[in-house]
Structures are given as C-alpha cells and as structure tokens.
C-alpha cells in the first residue's frame, strides 16, 4: 500500500501541516499498537475478548444443542464427547447455554458501562470546565454514590425498579457513572489550563466548541481505559445480581442464574456450577488484564 506509507512518512516528518491531524492519529495508533503488542498477557486477553464477542454475535450458529431443550434421559451428566461441559439438572447442554448466555452477559455489561461512560463523561466535562456550584453539585452527588458499596447500591436500585435484566443495566450504570465523572473532571481541569485551550478561547470560541472539539478528544484515552477496566466489574455485578435472583429469570441461560440454580447440585454434580463459574472468572479476568494493558499502552508517562 504505497499511499499508506506516504501518509505515515508525512506524519512523522510533519512537513505538511494540513495533513498533520489524521496522520498524527495514525501514528499514535501505531505507537499504541507497538506498545500494546509487547504486553503478551494483555494481548492474549484482547484475543479472548474478541473471541467472546464473536461467540456472542454468532451464538445461535455455534450452539451444538438447543440451549433450552431439556433431555430427561441425560440428567446431570458429566463432561463427555457429546456434551463438552456436561448437562444440567434438566438435561440441557451446559456448553450451549454458556454460549447463549455470552450474549446476555456481554450485552448487559457493555450497555451498562456504555451508559455510565456517556453520562459520566458529560458530567465530568461540565463539572471540570465550569467549576463553581455546578462542580460542587456534581462532585458531591458523586461522593454520595461513592459512599455506597457498588453492589449494595445496585441491589437497592433493583429493589426499587424490580428484578429483570434491563433494570440490572440501569443499576450497574448508575454505580459506574461517578467514577467516569471524577476521572474526566480531573483530565478536564488540567486540559482547561493548557495554552491551546486559552488560545482558542481568546479567539472567541464558544464554550460548547471548546469542550467538544478541544477538551473532549484529550479525555478519550482515559475513557477507553476506564471502560475496559469497568466491564469486568460489570459482568461480575450482573452475574451477582442474577445469582441473588434479582437479575435474569431463573429460566434464562444467564451465567449468574446458572450458578444460582446449580448450587443445589454442588456436591453431586459440580460441573453444573463449575463451568459457568469458570466462564465468569475468565471473562472478568480477560477484561481486567486487557484494561491494565490498555492503560499502560496509552499512558505517555510509561516508557518502554
């Protein structure tokens, strides 16, 4: 691709000011990728996450059995060539249910974190940029939410809204919002004082333009890192709520609900809880390692 190499060259040489912006982004990404690729564990985690996403999207085509069809002749069978993860108390294939449940778990956690990120970023930008009473209001509000243990807050919200996966999304989003608000506020505070923002303001740019065009782009890397760090927690929180019977219905192939229904058979058929537990563990671990890796790769202070 000759075009590409020219573009890159131009970016690094910065001889053509007009092309500087896109080329700088490309260069940044390349540098990021180089840094990220060096962290083997984080890279492996990223591959696992991509696999999870594929499973979530292609789920219905991958399941070896219908996840909801019971087979009363094959109750609580251990792992075998036919059923890789065994069968549950109704003879349903656990592997198929885990695959089907991937979509549920990822949808819940991703949407919850996305909502939290959007709300938190808006609040953080406003709070950091305007300061004053608005800042105090938003930050004290965040403090109030921070003062509750995350899961307890989520349980409280679900108790008010009633059980169900959509309410779990709201609950997890609410306890995720203040952390975004706080991080974005701190970035905003430092970017606000920089020379280029002052220059823009002196040219008469409106507040909204300064916030969205100049400050917001500087916060993106923090948002990405925080998003990736919080997804693991969100999966865990959603599974915990389902386990407590406040999330998915017991009939849904949700990982937490599977754990919850299977715990009666812990002593006679441990595979019924072992595999959902393992899946939750791996998914949360992958997102956390991935988040760590992203942070290290995006932080300009860390050299390698």
């Amino acid at each position: 691709m000759p075009d590409n190499s020219i573009g890159m060259g131009a970016g690094s040489g910065s001889s053509l000011p007009l092309e500087a912006a896109p080329a700088r982004t490309a260069g940044r990404f390349k540098a990021f990728y180089r840094k990220f690729r060096k962290q083997r564990l984080a890279f492996a985690a990223a591959c696992f996450i991509i696999l999870l996403l594929l499973v979530a999207i292609l789920g219905p085509f991958l399941t070896p059995y219908n996840p909801d069809t019971p087979n009363y002749d094959a109750l609580m069978q251990g792992p075998s060539a036919h059923h890789w993860a065994g069968t549950d108390e109704y003879g349903r294939d656990i592997m198929s249910r885990l695959i089907d449940g991937t979509r549920l778990s990822l949808a819940v956690s991703l949407s919850a974190v996305f909502i939290a990120a959007v709300l938190g970023t808006i609040l953080g930008l406003l709070s950091g940029y305007y300061g004053g009473w608005l800042d105090r209001l938003i930050m004290r509000g965040s403090d109030v939410l921070f003062s509750f243990p995350d899961l307890l807050l989520a349980i409280g919200i679900v108790a008010i809204l009633g059980p169900g996966l959509s309410n779990v999304v709201i609950a997890v989003a609410v306890f995720g919002t203040p952390s975004f608000a706080r991080i974005i506020r701190s970035v905003t505070l430092s970017v606000k004082e920089t020379l280029f923002v002052e220059a823009t303001r002196s040219m008469g740019a409106k507040d909204s333009r300064i916030i969205w065009r100049h400050i917001f782009p500087e916060t993106v890397s923090s948002i990405i890192v925080n998003v990736s760090m919080r997804i693991g927690g969100a999966i865990l929180a959603a599974a915990s709520l389902s386990f407590l019977g406040m999330g998915a219905k017991t009939t849904e192939p949700d990982w937490g609900a599977m754990l919850s229904m299977g715990r009666d058979y812990l002593s006679i058929a441990p595979h019924i809880v072992y595999f959902p537990g393992l899946t939750i563990f791996l998914a949360v671990l992958a997102f956390n390692i991935f988040g760590d890796g992203l942070r290290d790769a995006l932080d300009p202070k860390i050299k390698n």
Partner: protein, 539 residues
C-alpha cells in the same frame, strides 16, 4: 490500582454475605418478642446454631419454608401446624399412621344417631400460664373457632356444631346439627388455647401462644427461626426429653443439607431428594423415607380464561409427562398422582387417563380455540424444589405452545396474594404449583377444603375456584353418611368427577424424605408432612 481492585473483589464477596445477613436482620427487627434476639443477625444465627445436639440440651430442625402463624385454629400450612403442635394439644391427636389417639380427652362416646359426642377430659392438665384445662376452656375455644368475626381456618370444620355443653369440669358434650363423618378428625385439629391468654392477647395470640403442649414459646423471629423450650409442668411424666427445639427456615436445599452435614441442624425436612442417595449413611446421617399423603398439583383457575374451558385443563394434563416429573424433580422418589388424593388417604379411589400424549393435548387446545397455545403465569413458593417443579412444567407446556412465566414468591407474600381476593372475580391467580396434605387424615380433609365452592380463598384453599354442584352435594352427603361403605362410594364419585373436570394438573405424590443426625431419635415426619417432636431424644 491492582491492589485496589483485589480488595474490591473481596469486598464484593463481603457485600453478598452482608446482604444475605441483612435479609435475616430485617425480619429480626420485625419480631415482636426480640427480648432474647442478639444485637447482630449473624451472631443470632450462630447462637441458635449453638443450641445443637452437642450440648445435649436442645435440637435444631431446619425446614424449607417460613412458619406463618402459631394460631392453632388458623394454621393452614403444614409447618405452621407442626410448630403449633409443639405448644398446643387437642382433645384427640394422631399417631404416625394418622390414626386418632386420645390426648387431652381420655375417652369419648358417640350417640347412635351420630349427633352427640361426649368427651371425658384428662385430669390435672394445666395451661402454660398456670390456669386449669377444663370443660369451660374447651367451650371457650370452640366459641372462638365458631365466631364469624375471627374468620379462622377451622371455623367451617366446626360449622355443624350446634352447641357445646359442660355439665361438669371434666365432661364436654358436643351436639351436632347433622351427622358429620369426619368430626373426630376435626376435633383432633383444634389445639386448646388458654382462655385467659385469649382474653389478654386477643388477635396477638398467634404470636404469644399459650397451650398445654410439651413445649412453650421462647422466641419467634418471623421468617427466620422459632425456638420453643421445655414445658416443665407438662402432664406426661418424663416428656419432653430435650430442653428446646429450634425450627429454622432454610429455603435453600444446599444450605439445609450442609447444616445437617456440619451438625448445625439435627434434623432437616425435606431432605433434597436428589441428594438422598448421596448422604445416606455418611457422616452420621440417616435418611428416613415415609410414604405420604402429600399430593402435588397445579391449580388451574377454572373461572379465568383460558382455564375456564375444560378442554384446556385436560390438555395441560395430557401435556405433562408425570413419569419424567417424578424422575427430574423428585429424583424418582414418589409416584404420579392418579386421583385427587394419595393412596394413603381414606376412601382413595384410583383413576386412569391423562397419560402423556402431546398430540392429544394439541388437539384439545385446538378444539378449545387455542391452536397456538397462550401465555400464563404460574405461581409457587421460592424454595429450590418448587422452582424446579415450576420450570419443569414450563418446559413441558412450552411443547404445546403454552408459554409460562414462572413467579416464585416468599410464602407469606404468596399467601397474601392469594387471600387478598375476597371474591373469585378479584382473583389474580392463574396457576399455582403447590402441595396439599390432609392434616386431619380423612377424605373430607383432602376434598372439602380444595374442591367445595364454599372454600374459595380466603375461606379455604379452593384456589382452582372449582364449582360443581354435584360435587358440593356429594361432599355434604358423604359427611352425613354414618356407614363407611356408603361414604366410600360417594368419595369414589367425587374423585371421578373432579378427575374428569381437571381443575388441577395432577402431578405427583411425595415420598417424605427427611434427614436426621444418628444421635437424634424420635423426631418423626408423619404421612401428612407434619413434624412430631414429642419423643425427640438425644442419645
């Protein structure tokens, strides 16, 4: 960051534990008599656990649902009845085969026309508040049961009592308005409350029980535990042989069995059927199996669409594979229900039909105008086995297009939901997966409360809102029958008619599976599922 996240994960675990404990905590606060309740809920739990058999003083029994009331005249669920019977006794009682035995009465005579019952009362029996048990006390109790204002569960059992007389302190004479076949069984259901306590406590008597029984109330934390302690002045010399009995509500199968294994509980009922073979004989645990009078079924609200159509109700019966139900939900410990009552109940008559037949079920649904099925709600309690049963039914009915929404509720909430409807029109109930055992041990107890049109909630347990004029008439006729053969013939008609009308999805008959530490003797689960602790003894 990493350290923080680790501690956050640990914290999350803590929170889960805290929430579970907080659940108990709430009910702790609600308890009226929390005089001996510990300041923190977890400490409370371990305190009652400490009362295990090891110290040779008290025993702990873990049961699967909450005790709802301690009022012996108003208890309708088996565990409440068991709990009330530790503190209350009737004129008569039951032995382990559901035969009647004398308790507070030493003997009784029935007149030839079946109308006059004369009981001779036991001497030297005192209520736990020190007052005498005598004929006047019996009169006061029957008056309370019969008072319409009190609206007690037992009221209809005593509706045919025209008058109660006390010619002397040791004799009570009941005169009935018409013969009543099951009267003695009903008398055995009426625990005697101290008239003094009745006047003093009024409606609160359900929380402050005062009877003649072997145990008296120590502490009742609703939703968590009931502790009863030895009644030192009990009239049967040498009983009870344990200092106290703690009933703990542990809905979760896994926890209950873990409590038995660790010795935190000395006796659990029910023992999760799927684990019966696994724990038998291990770790000093013995598994006790008893054939029962407990039937499991789903009531179908016959006054609500689409269940008002008999074809729909029959279709549901054809669509459920009962053999698979016994295998999956009951782990093979039970038999399918082939009548309205278990074969252990008086006047049982076997029915045939409703063998698993998907095609027939679909055909019946199509005939009824639901070729593609419909959606409905099924209610049940929130213990593991009930949820499993409901999920099984959901899976089975899905095959004929009936989409069920499984709603599991805590016992008290469920009971409120059902009894909130004062008329059949107000009732929201569609399907209810539940069990019934006639605690009075007779065919009337297994029929009238469930199928008589007088017994719509809240008066009784006819949650199918089943109304059939002939069945109503037969129930009345059977009660009047003084001849056993005649009663048997009438009950055969009743069972056949109800079977064909299918106000229930007929599911199964339980085998009672309980687990006991081998150091404990004498705790028995009767065929009706009630727990008897009078003979409890720690070796």
């Amino acid at each position: 960051m990493k350290a923080k996240r680790k501690s956050w994960l640990a914290f999350m675990l803590l929170v889960i534990v805290a929430v579970v404990a907080a659940g108990c905590g709430n009910s702790n606060n609600e308890a009226k008599n929390s005089g001996s309740a510990s300041p923190s809920p977890s400490a409370g739990a371990s305190a009652s656990a400490g009362a295990g058999a090891k110290d040779g003083k008290g025993i702990t029994i873990a049961i699967n649902t909450n005790i709802i009331t301690l009022d012996p005249h108003n208890a309708s669920d088996t565990h409440s009845i068991s709990a009330a019977r530790t503190m209350y006794e009737g004129l008569l009682g039951f032995d382990e085969n559901m035969n009647l035995v004398p308790v507070l009465a030493t003997e009784y005579k029935i007149s030839d026309d079946g109308l006059v019952y004369t009981f001779t009362l036991r001497d030297n029996v005192k209520f736990q508040d020190g007052t005498d048990f005598n004929a006047e006390a019996v009169k006061a109790n029957i008056a309370r049961i019969q008072d319409e204002k009190n609206n007690l569960r037992l009221r209809r059992s005593f509706a045919k009592v025209a008058k109660v007389e006390a010619p002397d302190a040791k004799t009570v004479v009941f005169t009935l308005s018409e013969p009543y076949n099951a009267f003695l069984n009903k008398v055995a259901m009426a625990g005697m409350i101290s008239p003094k306590a009745l006047t003093e406590s009024g409606a609160d008597i359900a929380k402050k029980p005062v009877g003649t029984g072997p145990f008296k109330l120590k502490d009742w934390t609703q939703g968590d535990s009931l502790v009863v302690e030895k009644n030192a002045d009990y009239w049967q010399q040498g009983f009870p042989k344990v200092e106290s009995v703690t009933f703990r509500s542990v809905p979760e199968n896994g926890s209950r069995i873990a409590m038995l294994k660790t010795g935190e509980a000395d006796f659990i009922y029910p023992l999760p059927t799927e684990q019966a073979s696994e724990v038998e004989g291990k770790d000093g645990i013995s598994v006790i199996k008893t054939d029962s009078t407990i039937v499991r079924y789903v009531t179908l609200n016959t006054m609500k669409k689409p269940f008002d159509d008999v074809k729909v109700r029959q279709a549901i019966n054809y669509a459920i594979n009962k053999e698979a139900y016994i295998k999956v939900v009951k782990s093979g410990l039970g038999v399918k229900l082939d009548s309205t009552m278990s074969s252990k109940t008086q006047y049982y008559s076997q029915q045939t039909g409703y063998d698993y037949d998907l095609e027939k079920a679909k055909q019946l649904l199509a005939d009824a105008g639901y070729p593609n099925g419909f959606s409905a709600e099924i209610w049940g309690e929130n213990d593991s086995e009930t949820i499993k049963g409901m999920q099984f039914i959901q899976q089975q009915l899905a095959l004929v297009g009936i989409k069920l929404d499984v709603k599991s509720m805590e016992g008290g909430t469920l009971s409120d939901q059902i009894n909130a409807a004062k008329t059949p029109e107000e009732a929201k109930i569609q399907m209810w997966y539940v069990s019934w055992s006639p605690s009075s041990g007779d065919a009337d107890g297994a029929t009238r409360g469930l199928f008589s049109s007088e017994m719509f909630p809240p008066a009784g347990s006819n949650t199918a809102y089943y109304k059939n004029a002939s069945v109503d008439q037969w129930i009345a006729d059977a009660n009047k029958a003084t001849d056993a053969e005649k009663a048997k013939a009438i009950y055969a008609d009743i069972q056949k008619t109800i079977w064909n009308d299918a106000p229930w999805a007929f599911m199964g008959v339980d085998q009672i599976i309980s687990g006991s530490r081998s150091t404990l003797e004498g705790v028995k689960v009767f065929p009706d599922g009630s727990i008897n602790v009078l003979n409890a003894q720690v070796k």
